[in-house]
Subunit: 314 residues, 2 copies
């Protein structure tokens, strides 16, 4: 298939304002007065970040949603994205596959109100490699950061933990996913776009590399320690069923794409009200203390020990 026809068929219908129908060397984007740009980028590689037999539509959605989650972590709303696709000659990635892939993109563009700006399509000798650079905006100076946590702040997490990492295990045949909720969470995360947390939380990030490791990022950047309580972790019944056998995986596994925030006591009511208004569950799972590092305490108050720290990309 020809590159230009391929782009015209699958991606031109996704292009919005500023993309100039993907007919130029680049795209143009304007920012409203008083806003600044927020940028993030995520690459997904076949076999590492998705399985070749995952549905094309959910691969597209996961690609956008991992990036949307980064914007959510910075308190930003999405405006557009650049898409990079390196396609292997494998017949699996055919017209039908890319039609479904584009459908997934289109659906999430509508859900999250943003659009394709441009990108690049190349070949690849072997795996399918998908990249998105997402552009959002935020009022100047109001981007959320990781480095403002203070001792005494509470540690909070949206939604629930561990579903996606167990979903991957279910996909690999290592456990049973009776109601399909684990697989669904692995394939289609829910980015927490739309919460207005500036002035409420002291630090924010999304959990992509596992709860413990990501708490470690906030602790390191803010120069504090974080203490978590195992019994407070929000786990769905489907996850709880596997807790005994897969505890380390649930605590260290990645792909949750939930928001992890720290919040001063005086702002907790505002945090809960903001989340309730958006129907986003949020749970207090620990607290910020002086010191360094992350500790998780079990029901008896003893620190859990882990054999590794979390997901490393290579």
């Amino acid at each position: 298939m020809g590159e230009f026809d391929f782009i015209a068929r699958h991606f031109r219908p996704l292009a919005g304002a500023g993309a100039m129908e993907l007919r130029n060397d680049g795209a143009v984007m304007d920012l409203p007065a008083g806003e600044e740009l927020v940028l993030s980028s995520d690459t997904m590689v076949e076999g590492l970040h998705f399985l070749p037999d995952d549905p094309a539509k959910t691969i597209a959605q996961k690609l956008l949603r991992c990036n949307l989650s980064d914007l959510a972590a910075m308190g930003s709303r999405p405006r557009g994205y650049m898409l990079n696709v390196s396609v292997p000659p494998h017949r699996h990635y055919d017209e039908a596959w890319f039609t479904d892939f584009a459908k997934g993109l289109a659906e999430d563009q509508k859900t999250f109100e943003f659009h394709l700006l441009g990108g690049d399509t190349t070949g690849s000798p072997s795996p399918l490699v998908l990249g998105v650079t997402i552009l959002g905006s935020v009022r100047k100076g109001e981007a959320l950061r990781r480095d403002r946590s203070q001792p005494g702040d509470g540690v909070w997490v949206t939604g629930s933990l561990g579903r996606a990492t167990l979903g991957l295990q279910a996909r690999l045949g290592a456990l049973e996913d009776e109601d399909g909720s684990l697989t669904q969470a692995y394939r289609v995360p829910t980015p927490r776009i739309g919460l207005s947390l500036y002035g409420i939380v002291s630090a924010a990030m999304d959990i992509s590399d596992g709860l413990i490791q990501d708490c470690g990022h906030i602790a390191e950047e803010s120069g504090v320690s974080i203490t978590l309580y195992e019994e407070r972790l929000p786990l769905t019944p489907a996850v709880q069923k596997h807790l005994a056998q897969h505890k380390e995986r649930i605590l260290l596994g990645g792909d949750d794409y939930e928001l992890l925030v720290t919040c001063p006591a005086a702002k907790e009511a505002a945090l809960q009200a903001q989340c309730a208004a958006q129907s986003v569950p949020i749970t207090r799972i620990g607290e910020v203390r002086e010191g360094a590092g992350v500790t998780m305490l079990d029901e008896e108050g003893k620190p859990l020990r882990f054999s590794r720290s979390g997901w490393q990309h290579f």
Copy 2:
């Protein structure tokens, strides 16, 4: 090696304003009043866009320069870039390789006055895949486009043609590159950043997919035809030496990263003055006519025929 240490060692020193030292989920970028953002993205795949034994430093430079060339084609100056790296476990891509790669990035950041904003690093089961999304800015409404050529305009090209495509052949052992100029052009293109062509040219793009095909893009987007004259093409002596044997390759091969513009007769003096001020050679190689398609005429005024239209990415 750990992902976070790897990023800290090689990429944190490249991060500039808004990148927040690569310590958050994303980057923040501000735009001066009255400017809008220009975006472009290019992916380079080992074996397709560079050879594994090309120097790491020139691979880095080519990656940035392909993207810079897109900004030049839109009349934009660079501000920052997002870098996506998918690294195979192959021992060739080791610490020393990435140290050189980062050197190439650092050098070009200085030359072209922009900086790293953020990105993503992942593994890859097989080839090294490198992606850049570049961000530039331009005064609102002044981005150059491909769709404003008018019959009667001249067709102009900066620099010279065919060196990079012959450089690739030299690298593959298919021809002799006596003075090394062909290989150098293949490895380190010269993006034409810094020309102020708004209000002078009627259309602009960069030649990345080959002269004939890229002229075809302007012809199609502007609804015109383009006639080129073979004897007017700017060719260096090193290219002329291979003209008889490699004519089609020189005319259709990609990777030149020269600017292709169309210009009304009344603006030709301004175009030449602007290029002279920046020491950029520019040559009138043809003209825009009514109709459709691209024709190249030989010295006797006969149309050349080609066996293919130009570089297709897959």
